[in-house]
Symmetry: C2
Subunit: 513 residues, 2 copies
């Protein structure tokens, strides 16, 4: 039953202690150690049927690798069948290659207290990634800037319920495309002391991102330890573009972790039925993960997944819908059979506002990530409008929900204290437990206490202004930014990073596409 | 793994076909046959530890039965130890008694197409129950009236995603307390053709509710079949009030199903730690369920659960929080070990508005009900403000979410069609699946299509008025009420019911408390 973890261990000691109720100032954990099992929904027989289709896709149809002759050469040497750009994989070949990828690894943060484990029973929450737009209740939607980028990192860093600083937390469109990554990586290092992600939009940008990590951690350390992640997408269906495989190989070459993610909108980039879309996702991800191992055997890699659905009325992609949510459980089972760390789902919504739709879709999607056993949950906070905008309000609402998930993942702890036989003996029938010794001993850590949910009686809520959650979130992000303090950064390191950014920027003309 | 169901069967054929996208006019199912397993989080060893504490509570501390000497007499005859009002149960006694309760039964509706199965792999969604207040965006919060009561039944009946008409869908406070149940039961029969619930607030009211069911179904039929449910609450901790046990026995005596529900706010009516609260809940529910069997062996009964948490800042009860959500999974496991149909959780929130908080808390809570294997999910739609108000907007938002859960519970179907090998062969790498034969064959039933979520691009949403979900829900309930048509009811039956209501009301003076 407990595929990932023994419920008896771990969860409680990793549970944050909240000293001041409703504040985000409690003791924090660097990541969650899950204390509930994964939610496995498919039988062995049906998993094997999906794997068999993935194997057939790989062997009979194959995958195209475009604009990356070196990748084709790696495949040829490994024994794949090359036909132009098309690569076909003999049955079993990819599984054999994948055996060298680590099932669990540590990504180091500049503050070692924030190192995260990725794989096994660890769960890491990371902000949403890649939106061109940002929005808030005051100014509405607009393109993201480097100032928004920094603000969102600061909000993330200020929450004890995220564990990772993320990557392209929004696109800073006021910075040239070919220099953006330098400012982004610098901002992660400067304004957060957590682990972070680098660029993948060009091989050079991937390498420069990694180079900045070397300045921060030292080149030898980086060669032996994971300090930066790169999130690479398959061009589904069944195409790997050279930009992505070159970035993927750059991360692997440096012993850094690529996150391998197909992006399948069922009915568009994959079949309209979940089982087929999952088989395709498995085939595409296995090929990408295996390529990292051909580039550098033993390099860390994360098995990613991005199932989605589409509106068959408008053709729009839809997010936070039930089919991808339940489909993620199957992806989780398949990834564990490959013994690879998993990235799954996240907090998705199509809503254009931080409203009921945003949280309905977001919670369904985020819970699926947690249930399916995802180890690295990118997009844990901020997304609205499909994947197009980061909402400041939604960001703090989601980090608050991440806090609730810390308690949820702690599960139901069963021991003499929690079984509370002494409380029943003290209280008996018809009385109450408010002041009994057991309650006094346990109340401080008993229940998650949201900073954004209103739990007051109607009258008190009404007197306090009858606010909705979005309005409270608006006040909260402003207060958080006003109170933000940057974590200390060694001055010499800071200067070396700034110098590198400056030199690298100067060496190339601005490009805006 | 699949504790409740084989995933291979059932779900697909019970899945509603949506002919017109976004409408609620699709073909409907009378209830859901779940096609995903339950989410079992605790090990055998820990379940046994909880059961052992429940057994000790029952044997050592016992439960008080107040104001119902007949109940004490039933316990005495069954072999319990009676000490004043306190009843102590020798180990194993209740489990033995419970063996006669049916694991699955059918509740009949006046339209047989709407009969629901309760137990096993069946899932039945029923509206929220018991709020004194109602609210909508136009008129705000006010006390519920019989007009609101009828409106909410009509909204429920109009949704293909609820399966049951519920009971006290709101309190009609404009009708005397001692006559309310007559108008409520009549309204359920008149405005809905689904199964429904009767009164439990006094033995007489329970019996009159059942009598109305006899007029509708015939006395002999009622004696042999379940046609009405009564939801009775434990006065936690460890007290059963006579009002409730008399109502419970009235339902059992008539071979109708009582739903046995402790209401435990951790830290107040039970221990502040989940494991202890769950043990208490198990003890209280077992006693109530067993009493139905002493009253009438073989009477249907539902194992209920209502775990909740409290704000340790304000002392307010809190709903939709993580601890009760994950705790419900354990209750589900325990109920299945007793082989009893389960009622669990529902869609709870403390929010005073149909906002982000309402859906965040509601979805977490509702998904826990679905995951834990609840068969009868009371409170599937409408609750806001703790349990104090029914929101018209939240009601239609929640029924829409119930629609999404139909697709979710269908799971991932694995067969030759869904595996889509023909689609991969037709499409190949780098193309799209929009027009391929597989898509054309499957798109109509592929994805849940919400009637309330906005999936349009930002610009189209903006042109259409930049609405939030609550605003769209407001328009929707008005349209639904305007278009509502009552299901046909036999005129003689209608007249007999009206006559009974009239006579019964006339026979007693109004009481307002």
């Amino acid at each position: 039953m407990d595929s990932v973890t023994a419920e008896q261990t771990g969860g409680r000691k990793n549970r944050p202690v909240r000293r001041s109720a409703g504040s985000q100032a409690g003791l924090k954990v660097p990541f969650i150690r899950r204390n509930i099992p994964t939610y496995d929904i498919l039988s062995e027989e049906n998993l094997q049927r999906i794997e068999a289709v993935a194997d057939r896709i790989l062997a009979e149809i194959g995958i195209e690798f475009r604009d990356d002759p070196a990748a084709l050469e790696l495949w040829r040497k490994a024994g794949a069948e090359i036909d132009g750009l098309r690569v076909r994989f003999p049955k079993g070949m990819l599984r054999e290659i994948l055996a060298s990828a680590p099932p669990v690894f540590t990504q180091h943060a500049r503050n070692p207290a924030n190192n995260v484990e990725i794989g096994g029973s660890a769960v890491v929450f990371s902000p949403a990634y890649g939106s061109p737009f940002v929005m808030d209740l005051d100014k509405g939607r607009r393109y993201g800037t480097i100032e928004d980028f920094r603000n969102l990192i600061k909000l993330g860093q200020s929450s004890p319920y995220l564990h990772h600083s993320g990557g392209t937390i929004c696109e800073p469109v006021d910075v040239p495309v070919n220099k953006r990554h330098l400012d982004m990586v610098y901002s992660h290092i400067k304004y957060s002391d957590r682990a972070f992600m680098g660029s993948v939009t060009a091989e050079e940008r991937a390498e420069e991102s990694i180079e900045m990590a070397r300045i921060l951690f030292g080149a030898d350390f980086v060669d032996q330890n994971c300090v930066i992640l790169g999130n690479v997408n398959v061009n589904s269906p069944l195409v790997w573009d050279g930009t992505m495989t070159k970035a993927l190989r750059a991360y692997a070459r440096a012993n850094q972790a690529a996150v391998i993610v197909p992006f399948i909108l069922g009915g568009a980039m994959g079949p309209v039925t979940s089982a087929g879309a999952i088989a395709q996702s498995l085939a595409e991800t296995m090929a990408g993960c295996a390529l990292t191992q051909l580039e550098r055997r033993g390099a860390p890699v994360i098995f990613g997944n991005f199932l989605s659905s589409m509106s068959l009325r408008s053709g729009s992609p839809t997010f936070g819908t039930p089919e991808p949510a339940i489909g993620s459980m199957v992806i989780g089972q398949l990834a564990r059979r490959l013994k690879l760390p998993l990235r799954c789902a996240g907090n998705f919504s199509n809503s254009k506002l931080p409203d009921a739709q945003a949280m309905q879709e977001g919670v369904m999607s985020m819970l699926s990530a947690v249930h399916c056993g995802a180890n690295f949950i990118l997009h844990s906070a901020g997304f609205v409008d499909g994947l197009l905008a980061m909402s400041y309000e939604k960001f703090v609402m989601d980090t608050d929900f991440c806090g609730a998930l810390h308690s949820y993942l702690a599960g139901v702890v069963v021991d003499d204290n929690t079984l509370a036989m002494d409380a029943f003996e003290e209280v008996g029938p018809g009385s109450h437990f408010l002041g009994c010794a057991h309650t006094m001993r346990n109340y401080q850590t008993a229940f998650w206490d949201s900073a954004l949910s209103d739990n007051e009686p109607f009258e008190k809520w009404s007197e306090a202004g009858s606010t909705d959650m979005a309005t409270r979130a608006n006040a909260r992000w402003k207060k958080t930014l006003a109170e933000y303090e940057a974590p200390p950064l060694d001055i010499a390191t800071d200067e070396a990073l700034l110098d590198y950014v400056e030199r690298t920027k100067r060496a190339k003309p601005d490009a805006w596409y």
